[in-house]
Point group: C2
Chain length 374, copies 2
């Protein structure tokens, strides 16, 4: 008998009987995907067919039920994407159904691998202890490499730990990837020489997989501090490939672009905690960018708190990672963010610093100081 793992779904249903019928349909859909009466007896029915192991009313105003479904490691067959496919494959096309928890076993935790650095590793690399971390994005697209590198310099001079590419910067003619990488690493190092700090540059490597993997190695050779990629565009196995690579040894930051629909409807997709917390750790990234509450996207404070929980809580031994909330952040939002995240967070602040009357560096300094105050 193989080990089993559990996925918990929220299920819309008017009665427990209806919820059980739906849960059993999910357990069948996610594994054998044939009519129940065509399931072969023996190993397939006994081991591979998903099992509804618990069904309870869901607490909270949304109503419905929580169903725990247990699956076999043999359904997964040692394939990471097949693990995700069992968690929420065809069932992702159903409404009134949402993944609200994943519980792994040791064999699957090993399959995932998890973050190479995690929150502690990121702190170590940045030399940042007893305070939150800080990240800014250089932008907009269309600026020259020199202009973008100057922004990187100013951000680093102001105390940002990480200066990343905007996720819309790829290899446009106005600032080709290779030129920008070299110039921004140098600009951040120049700031470090002045501040004595350990800021680093984080290029966006999102691209066709072979190109992205080559850019990751290029980034490492050039002296970048991490790389950023968008799993919603590139797929959910690229971070893991990099996190387990023998020739690559940098932290990975994920960006949520293109995959917003995965969480924003409360009755479909994944809970915020699962998608931005658990999945980030399963795929081996070290920090996860997502839109903070109170910005220009609609995540609630509770949803953001749940992401922080999903990044930090015990999860089959996979290292904790750092939530990296952004999207309209500014110094006025620091108290509310400190209340939610404490110091276990990367403040991602960009646009607000660009238009600060005192200039980028001074505005960054003020923000770092305000957020680092105990």
């Amino acid at each position: 008998m193989a080990d089993r793992f559990t996925v918990t779904y929220w299920i819309a249903a008017a009665s427990e009987a209806e919820a059980r019928t739906r849960a059993e349909a999910v357990a069948l859909e996610q594994t054998l995907e044939i009519p129940r009466d065509a399931v072969p007896r023996g190993y397939i029915e006994d081991e591979l067919l998903g099992r509804v192991t618990a069904l309870v009313p869901h607490e909270g105003q949304q109503g419905g039920f929580r169903a725990e479904v247990s699956y076999s490691n043999d359904d997964v067959g040692g394939d990471f994407l097949q693990l995700l496919n069992i968690v929420f494959g065809n069932a992702s096309i159903l409404t009134g159904l949402r993944v609200i928890d994943i519980a792994l076993n040791p064999e699957l935790a090993t399959l995932c691998g998890g973050p190479r650095f995690g929150a502690a590793g990121l702190r170590e690399r940045a030399g940042a202890h007893g305070r939150p971390l800080f990240m800014s994005a250089i932008k907009p697209v269309g600026m020259s490499t020199a202009e973008l590198a100057d922004r990187a310099y100013q951000f680093a001079l102001g105390g940002m730990d990480f200066v990343k590419d905007d996720h819309g910067l790829v290899d446009q003619a106005t600032s080709p990837f290779s030129d920008r990488l070299a110039a921004c690493v140098e600009a951040v190092e120049k700031a470090n020489r002045e501040t004595g700090g350990r800021a680093s540059f984080v290029p966006n490597i999102t691209a066709e997989t072979s190109v992205a993997l080559a850019r990751a190695e290029q980034a490492q050779r050039a002296g970048a501090g991490a790389v950023m990629l968008a799993p919603g565009l590139m797929g959910f196995d690229v971070a893991r490939t990099l996190a387990r690579s023998e020739s690559f040894d940098l932290p990975i930051v994920t960006h949520p672009t293109f995959s917003g629909a995965s969480t924003i409807t409360p009755t479909t997709g994944f809970s915020h905690r699962v998608f931005y917390g658990q999945m980030t750790r399963m795929m081996g990234a070290d920090a996860v960018v997502y839109p903070n509450f109170g910005g220009r996207f609609g995540f609630s404070e509770d949803e953001c708190r749940s992401i922080a929980t999903g990044c930090a809580e015990d999860f089959a031994g996979l290292k904790p990672v750092l939530p990296t909330p952004g999207g309209g952040m500014n110094i006025e939002k620091v108290p509310a963010m400190r209340e939610v995240y404490g110091h276990d967070v990367i403040y991602l602040v960009g646009g607000a610093l660009l238009r600060a009357p005192e200039g980028i560096t001074e505005a960054a300094r003020r923000l770092v100081e305000a957020a680092s105050a105990a």
Copy 2:
């Protein structure tokens, strides 16, 4: 000045003024992603900033508005995933916003490349003219290679043009990929020798990208008729990589697993026509699997009709592809499907044939006959 392309969004808004504000916010978010008052004058503002080029009330009971936003090819910089990122990157995290049309220009159509075979190429390879095409899936996971190959044989003997792996079959110990590929190709060829037909086997190559690309080439060498992959798990550039590869020359079938949330909420994500029709063609696949109306998923007849439209209509010169509706199909549903799809369709029928009292082959024959009747 670079060429421009247009994305049309449905926008929830109570008034035209609100809709315009939201549309302009999208145009900014998808390109420069900095506060409007921090946008540099000149090339960046004039060329790279998205422009709202039309705004009209949306017909239909959902209300809201249709906004056309024009973007520059320079925003894309020759990167396919960046094209998707412009179409619906951070905006995917907004509610009350849905992509309802993409209009490409010739340069971007060349960037996409599009399907190598398309609907006509699939027909040519299958020798299937003047009738719909047929596909079945071998399953469930847990069966031995010999048992699965026997099912492949029976499906092919019954007249299926394509026999594919279930999307849950990867490399499990009960039927490793390489063994299954060899056995199923042979089983289908055996059926072809008896029928004189041209059925072919379609393995599921979904896996970590490097593994998937190797399996694609292995499938070609082994004599497979096409390959299947899941963009929602693997990312949206893998099909395109294969469709443009010099060493790979098989059709590609996409599977919707894991990406259901992209369309199932009518006020977020993508319209069915865009996601399953236009996007399939942009990424270079030749056929798209999705759940048919009247099955165990919730797509409506209108939504399925719109997918068929998106697969076939003029789209910047990209070849038409074949809709491949499945998910609970059976012979009783043939008349309704013929009404919607005509002959431009691949009937994907699986589970219903497995429990037919007359046996798989005979049940497949009856279905092929019923659906092929003019």
